[in-house]
């Protein structure tokens, strides 16, 4: 039981983060808090991907000999071939999920930036960032029938 906990530690953290993030997104009324929850949720996925890239006993996927001091136009090619021969025996971790997650991090940052920009505009227009309050304002807006007044600028 305890050993399973140790070996699956990362996955347990992923699940905890994922559920925390989703819960915050659904339960928070404050729009900034919702975005925080969304970020936590997305971060849990980064951790999931990074965890799956780890191979037990694997070393970082860097081919050693290539970066020695004698790496140059004359010697480099020979050493490279030698290093490539060695590479077959060394167990490397999988670098691909890490590269994928770099992309996902950029996407997450872009989403967060657009989200925060929207919250700023919402604050300017509505004067609040509480979702409950905004729903109330929208409802009143609908009931008063001021729809046409807000959109009367036809050319």
């Amino acid at each position: 039981m305890f050993s399973e906990f140790i070996t699956h530690f990362n996955y347990i953290v992923v699940i905890i983060l994922m559920m925390t993030g989703l819960y915050v997104v659904f339960s928070a009324s404050n729009m900034i808090k919702k975005l925080v929850g969304l970020s936590v949720f997305q971060t849990s996925v980064f951790l999931l991907y990074i965890t799956m890239g780890k191979v037990t006993g694997g070393v970082p996927p860097i081919i050693e000999g290539l970066h020695g001091g004698d790496y140059g136009p004359e010697n480099g090619a020979g050493h490279g071939a030698e290093a490539a021969g060695q590479a077959a025996e060394i167990l490397y971790s999988n670098p691909l999920p890490h590269v994928l997650i770099l992309t996902a991090i950029v996407v997450g940052v872009a989403t967060l930036a657009v989200g925060l920009a929207l919250v700023v505009r919402i604050r300017e227009v509505y004067g609040t960032i509480e979702e409950v309050e905004i729903d109330r304002l929208n409802y009143a807006f609908n009931m008063d029938g001021v729809d046409e007044a807000a959109s009367g600028e036809t050319p």
Binding site: L22, F41, L48, G115, R121, D147, G152
Partner: protein
């Protein structure tokens, strides 16, 4: 190979339709004058439409187009793969892109502030490139990237409706939260698939998954995450809450573009994952098709149609109607038979055309008279006869009157349901079509049978929509008639798609 372009152009077409709009978006964003940005957008979308048409012809003659990005061979590098399943969607997206750009020339004058117009076209091109990218790519992670590229620019575009109605901001925010959750669910699913198969190429994934014949637990988990994630993106019934707000308050050109393409691209992805990456003959996938997609589709048809009847805002009526129509498509797909899947597919294309026309017409009504509510439609048939005629054709097609595209796809759906022995589904389609008569008929009745309102005792002057709006509207309206009277071409495309999905023709 039948193609009408020079050799290299048709060979590079799969990647050009994605790269060209992405690059041009950067130019658009820095243009000092919005008219120049508009011209760039129009030319780019036109080129993409021509390339897309060429791609469809190539696929019809060659079967599958595979483009290895950067010269890296498919299982290792990213592959753009176009076959009978996605070629029609590529054509639909790029054609609607051209029409919406034409339309946007006049509609942006009315609803976007002058200094935001050039960035508006840039964001539009990015969304366009993202949608085309997620359809043409054959790499699962690349799908996620393009999904987010198109989604993030779409959030921005929806929020640009704020100068007309501030609720656009709130809708864009809700869309952002739900859209990001959907995309994240999708990427979790892709992660599990990668764990299971060790590859990101969809065809390679399908081969690897076929080895574990009955589907391992990891694959099942991946499937669940992908279906829920894409379900959010395509507005499957209980996950559709972002859709009415986003459609109702976005700028009019964007509403038409989103309604006709965004949910359709996500639907295509669902088909791609359910039918070609996974094997639909597996027990857990068959159960998902029957008990999740078909059942939720039918429930969505009823609930969304009823909600559409009680809306006051015309765009919200059509938005709920979209959720109902997605229900039809999911019902067809959920049958899992060749007939059912091809019926769902042809409805996907037809509904894109019909809903595009309807939203363009609603935008024109707003542009001329500031009309948003169904109750203000009185006399529109006399005030804007040509625009209203096109709207009427599309509305009849949405209901499914014989002679229109909507009838063809609904008839296919009924045939498939009857063939499958799902008589309850036949009944559901017929009853919800009657509900469509109620919510669309309300608008048509007011527009054609009620007198035009009087202003200061005088009738309102008749003002037709400007020609750039009219062209796109009528192209779509005529397309929905032509596909109704001569349905051979769309049906051929749909059966080609069904063959890709079910015929084992990977």
């Amino acid at each position: 190979m039948s193609t009408f372009l020079t050799g290299w152009l048709s060979a590079e077409a799969p990647v050009l339709i994605v790269v060209l709009p992405l690059v041009m978006a950067a130019f658009c964003a820095v243009m000092p004058k919005d008219k120049i940005a508009w011209i760039i957008t129009l030319i780019t979308t036109l080129i993409c439409a021509v390339l897309a048409f060429d791609i469809v012809l190539q696929v019809q003659s060659a079967g599958v187009l595979s483009y290895a990005l950067g010269g890296w061979d498919p299982p290792f590098g990213i592959e753009y793969r176009i076959d009978g399943l996605n070629a029609p969607v590529v054509l639909l997206i790029s054609a609607i892109g051209v029409i919406c750009t034409l339309y946007a020339l006049r509609s942006t004058d009315a609803e976007i502030e002058p200094k935001k117009r050039a960035p508006f076209y840039a964001a539009f091109l990015v969304a366009f490139a993202g949608l085309l990218g997620m359809v043409v790519t054959g790499d699962a992670f690349n799908v996620f990237v393009f999904l987010e590229v198109s989604s993030i620019s779409t959030y921005v575009l929806v929020a640009m409706g704020a100068s007309r109605d501030r609720r656009a901001l709130n809708s864009a925010y809700n869309y952002l939260i739900l859209g990001s959750i959907g995309a994240t669910f999708f990427v979790i699913g892709v992660g599990f698939l990668y764990m299971e198969t060790g590859t990101l190429n969809m065809m390679d994934m399908a081969d690897q998954l076929a080895v574990t014949a009955d589907g391992s637990r990891v694959a099942q988990l991946a499937f669940a995450f992908i279906v829920v994630g894409l379900g959010l993106k395509l507005a499957m019934f209980p996950l559709h809450l972002w859709l009415p707000g986003a459609y109702a308050y976005a700028p009019t050109a964007i509403t038409a573009f989103l309604a006709a393409t965004a949910t359709k691209a996500a639907l295509y992805l669902l088909l791609r994952f359910v039918f070609t990456v996974f094997d639909p003959s597996l027990a857990f996938i068959g159960a998902t098709l029957t008990w999740l997609l078909a059942v939720l589709g039918v429930v969505g048809m009823f609930v969304a149609s009823f909600q559409a009847i009680f809306q006051t805002d015309a765009r919200r009526v059509l938005a709920y109607s979209s959720v109902a129509q997605i229900g039809y498509i999911l019902l067809g797909v959920g049958m899992g038979t060749t007939l059912g899947v091809s019926a769902g597919y042809v409805h996907l294309i037809n509904h894109g055309i019909i809903k595009g026309a309807l939203f363009l017409a609603l935008g024109a009504f707003w542009y001329r008279y500031g009309i948003k509510r169904v109750s203000d439609f009185n006399g529109l048939g006399k005030l804007m006869p040509w625009t209203m005629s096109a709207f009427t054709i599309a509305a009849l097609a949405l209901i499914g009157i014989p002679g229109t595209a909507g009838f063809v796809s609904k008839f296919q759906l009924l045939t498939a349901a009857a063939d499958n022995g799902w008589w309850w589904a036949v009944g559901a389609v017929v009853v919800t079509s009657i509900l469509a008569v109620i919510y669309m008929g309300r608008m048509l009745e007011a527009a054609w049978l009620q007198p035009a309102p009087l202003v200061n005792g005088k009738p309102v002057a008749s003002r037709e929509a400007p020609w750039p709006m009219m062209v796109g509207l009528w192209v779509l309206a005529i397309a929905s008639l032509v596909f109704g009277i001569m349905p051979a071409w769309p049906l051929e495309l749909a059966s080609g798609a069904a063959q890709v999905m079910l015929g084992g023709g990977l």
